[in-house]
């Protein structure tokens, strides 16, 4: 199989190069002969650009715009990532998990992915979690664009940017220039509303204020592991409810920005996971995020730009798990995460041929607390028949990072980028990670990048301290060492005219001291450092804009990681194929449709494999005006062909005693959304 794929790859690559060299010169009238008046009447092809900025970045970057979010009807970041080359997400009816570069070990809370809002790190300090589902702190409709960076590419990021970093850039008041009211209704009694106001005042102050709320009754689901009359033949009712509230505010003046966001989501737990009583709506989980971020950028001298930032973050997790001890009691699982910090970055462009960056970031983790108890005054921990809580772990700490980078233009078309980052924290000794990159433009429209980067991730409070007794015990591991990764990558990007872009990349990486959850000899779960894991992969992407205003993006990712590195399960598929196509309908942008298809290869389960699946989503958008006051209406159908498919979520703690390997995912669902700008 591999050999045929590789043969096909080599053939296609040959074809691509042929295509690029045979690209015909475009016959055009000489526009410079036209007067200004004439030029003002010339119609241009699609207004959207490829973000050329991406070309010189020392990494393989994907940029997703607000228009993309609109025309494909995406409801959260997980749906965005599903369309992005090399990414894949799974859902256990609680969180969404991102697989990247062939890595998707069940039980990992996206701790190897850095998720930022306007450069602010949203990963909490207990689970290091990148929240890409509905619990994400920001409403997706407030996003201007998303930059997705693969690999340990930049020294600016540090910590969690192990496999990649996602930076969500929020919209500006200037662009909104007024209010927006949005309401949507979808499958399973899902309703969402949003009210946003944004504008730029005459004194240059830019402001945004927004509230969003969602309520969903969820579905009645069937779980074959509970197929018994005593457990309603495996059917749940009312156990899949979801609700969230989100607030966002931003003020900007000159180089100063103050931003705050708050989000609280509560989700029912219908799956019977964690040994909970099946089909009881009383089991639920709440995730609450709060962020405050102040930053200032100023020009401080010839070719010197200084950015300073101070931030505060809080994350609370509260799980209410109904456990039949008996009697049925609520086991309460809590995490309190609090942190603040400062960042400073100086960008120097004053020396010919150099762009230098030096910076530091410091974060103080004031709370990294994890608590677990039974809500029963007599026995606070039934599992070990104790009157004290099952877990009461209080932790705090800090981390410091220093970094320096220099981009040297050796020649007009050749750039060398080198950086060093030093990190230390209360759980990891100081260490230095280098990154090197060569960026070469053999021709104007071609970029070749050779990249090497190393990164590390310190064990988090959950991996170090979470201990829970009982029938399915988990034991903390204070002796964990940080895990490290070395990645080498080659990227080729080619523009064919202004309308076609193709990109091919290949990477190899090696992880040392991989932190992964394993079963100990006593049967408890514990995070342990595992020896070397090696991975590699190949990605290919093409993007084409058509004169009609249509756009096509298609990609393939082939990734090679053992199914069971060191015996631990990895449920990442070997191949991912995606295609996204959006086009105006009836000859204008008033009507647009966006169609996407995703193929996910088979995945490893504890006992074998689950089959591949292909999903398709479609959205029709009506927007009589793209700017200014007016309405907008969209209808989206997700999983258009009602494909029945499974994702890997092993669970041996079910009360039915039947081990679970996979969870069925949603069939066809829909959403109708109305928006009015005023």
């Amino acid at each position: 199989m591999e050999s045929t794929t590789l043969a096909a790859i080599s053939r296609s690559v040959a074809l691509l190069f042929l295509a690029s060299s045979a690209c015909p010169a475009l016959a055009q009238t000489d526009l410079t002969e036209l007067s200004l008046e004439q030029l003002l009447n010339v119609e241009i092809a699609s207004a959207s650009h490829f973000t050329q900025k991406a070309s010189d970045a020392p990494s393989a970057v994907t940029v997703i715009s607000r228009d993309d979010i609109k025309q494909y009807g995406w409801r959260n970041l997980a749906e965005v990532l599903n369309s992005v080359r090399g990414f894949q997400t799974t859902y256990d009816r609680y969180f969404n998990y991102a697989g990247i570069r062939g890595f998707l070990p069940p039980g990992d809370y996206n701790s190897r992915l850095l998720l930022m809002v306007d450069g602010y790190r949203t990963n909490d300090n207990v689970f290091d979690q990148a929240s890409i589902g509905n619990e994400f702190v920001l409403d997706i409709d407030l996003i201007d664009h998303i930059e997705i960076v693969r690999g340990p590419s930049s020294p600016v990021y540090g910590g969690n940017a192990f496999f990649g970093a996602i930076n969500v850039i929020t919209r500006r008041g200037k662009e909104m220039a007024g209010g927006e009211i949005a309401a949507s209704a979808g499958s399973f009694d899902t309703h969402k509303g949003r009210a946003t106001f944004g504008r730029m005042l005459d004194n240059g102050m830019d402001m945004v204020l927004s509230y969003s709320g969602l309520h969903s009754n969820g579905q009645n689901l069937n779980f074959p592991e509970f197929n018994d009359p005593a457990t309603n033949n495996g059917w749940t009712s009312g156990a899949d409810k979801e609700k969230y509230n989100k607030l966002f505010a931003k003020l900007g003046l000159g180089g100063f920005y103050l931003e705050t966001a708050w989000s609280s989501r509560i989700k029912g737990l219908p799956t019977g996971a964690f040994g909970t009583v099946f089909n009881n709506p009383g089991s639920n989980i709440t995730d609450e995020y709060g962020i405050v971020d102040a930053r200032y950028t100023d020009y401080v001298g010839r070719g010197l730009e200084l950015t300073g930032r101070t931030f505060y973050g809080s994350y609370n997790y509260a799980g209410n798990y109904l456990i039949d001890n008996p009697p049925v009691v609520t086991n309460v699982d809590l995490a309190y995460s609090r942190w603040w910090g400062v960042e400073a970055k100086l960008v120097a462009t004053r020396w010919q041929g150099h762009q230098g960056v030096v910076g530091l970031d410091y974060q103080r983790n004031t709370r990294q607390d994890q608590i677990n108890f039974d809500a029963d005054p007599a026995t606070q921990c039934f599992a070990n028949a104790s009157a004290t809580p099952c877990l009461d772990s209080r932790a705090s700490g800090s981390r410091l990072g220093l970094f320096a980078q220099d981009d040297i233009a050796l020649r007009e078309n050749l750039k060398f980028s080198a950086s060093l980052r030093y990190d230390r924290s209360n759980v990891a000794q100081g260490r230095i990670n280098p990154r090197l990159g060569i960026i070469y433009h053999p021709r104007e429209a071609s970029v070749l990048k050779l990249l090497y980067g190393s990164a590390f991730r310190a064990p988090n409070a959950y991996e170090l301290n979470y201990t829970f007794p009982g029938a399915f015990p988990q034991v903390g591991n204070p002796a964990l060492k940080p895990e490290t990764i070395q990645t080498t990558e080659v990227v080729w990007e080619q523009f064919l005219g202004n309308d076609t872009r193709i990109q091919a990349s290949a990477y190899v990486y090696q992880i040392n001291d991989w932190i992964v959850q394993v079963s100990t000899l006593s049967g408890a779960l514990q995070f342990q450092n595992q020896p070397v894991v090696k991975g590699s992969g190949l990605e290919l992407e093409g993007e084409q804009r058509f004169a009609s205003g249509a756009q096509l993006r298609a990609s393939l990712a082939t990734q090679f990681v053992p199914d069971r590195p060191n015996g631990a399960l990895n449920s990442a598929p070997m191949h991912l194929i995606k295609a996204n196509y959006s086009t105006p309908l009836f000859g204008s942008n008033t009507w647009r449709t966006g169609i996407e298809a995703q193929y996910v290869d088979r995945c490893a389960t504890p006992s074998g494999w689950i089959g591949s699946y292909t999903l398709a989503n479609a959205t029709i958008l009506w927007q009589p005006r793209s700017k200014g006051p007016g309405p907008e209406l969209s209808f989206s159908a997700y999983n258009l062909f009602d494909k029945r498919y499974q994702q890997v979520f092993p669970d041996t703690s079910l009360t039915s005693g039947v081990p679970r390997e996979t969870l069925a995912q949603d069939g066809q669902t829909w959403r109708l959304k109305y928006l009015y700008r005023f």
């Binding site: 794929t5 045979a22 690209c23 055009q28 003002l40 050329q52 950028t297």
Partner: protein, 174 residues
């Protein structure tokens, strides 16, 4: 389904081997033509002597690439010289027109601060350029290119724009 990837690769190759069809006018070429026209309507102060230098600042993007083709064209009886400038402020000397590329969106303030010492017209397609202190911002509305002018910024640099140009601007900030 295991052979799907091979098919995909083949289709993929084919897709991009197709010749690119004739299209509506290329946005970058239209914008470059605007920039060329602007050079005809600017009056520089007398100390700005020498050739009509058009300086490009930023990583190559479609507009900057299209502007390279203006080299040698005539404007106000002079030959246009197109020059790519590194980010270093020192080399902006002699620029009569500075076009700021999209790659520089985050450092507009610093660039404009530097270019203030120059009697040069600043032009860019970066969003809100004319609000951020730039002189002429190119914007796209309903698939047509328009421009906004910050008359104050023009005045500060001791430049004069013809009334015709101001009349055709979509917005003039005074």
């Amino acid at each position: 389904m295991r052979f799907l990837p091979s098919i995909f690769f083949a289709l993929f190759g084919l897709l991009f081997a197709l010749p690119i069809m004739a299209m509506e006018q290329d946005e970058a070429a239209v914008k470059a033509a605007f920039v060329y026209n602007f050079t005809k309507f600017v009056e520089w102060p007398s100390e700005a002597s020498g050739p009509l230098q058009l300086c490009l600042l930023g990583n190559t993007d479609p507009l900057l690439a299209a502007l390279l083709k203006l080299e040698g064209k005539q404007s106000q009886g002079q030959n246009i010289q197109v020059r790519s400038v590194d980010r270093d402020a020192g080399s902006l000397g002699g620029c009569r027109v500075i076009v700021v590329g999209t790659s520089e969106a985050e450092r507009i303030a610093a660039i404009l601060n530097n270019s203030q010492k120059q009697p040069a017209l600043t032009v860019s397609e970066i969003d809100h350029f004319a609000d951020a202190g730039g002189m002429i911002g190119l914007v796209v509305n309903n698939a047509k290119v328009q421009f906004e002018i910050d008359a104050q910024a023009v005045q500060r640099a001791n430049l004069k724009l013809s009334a015709q140009l101001l009349k055709l601007a979509q917005k003039v900030k005074k």
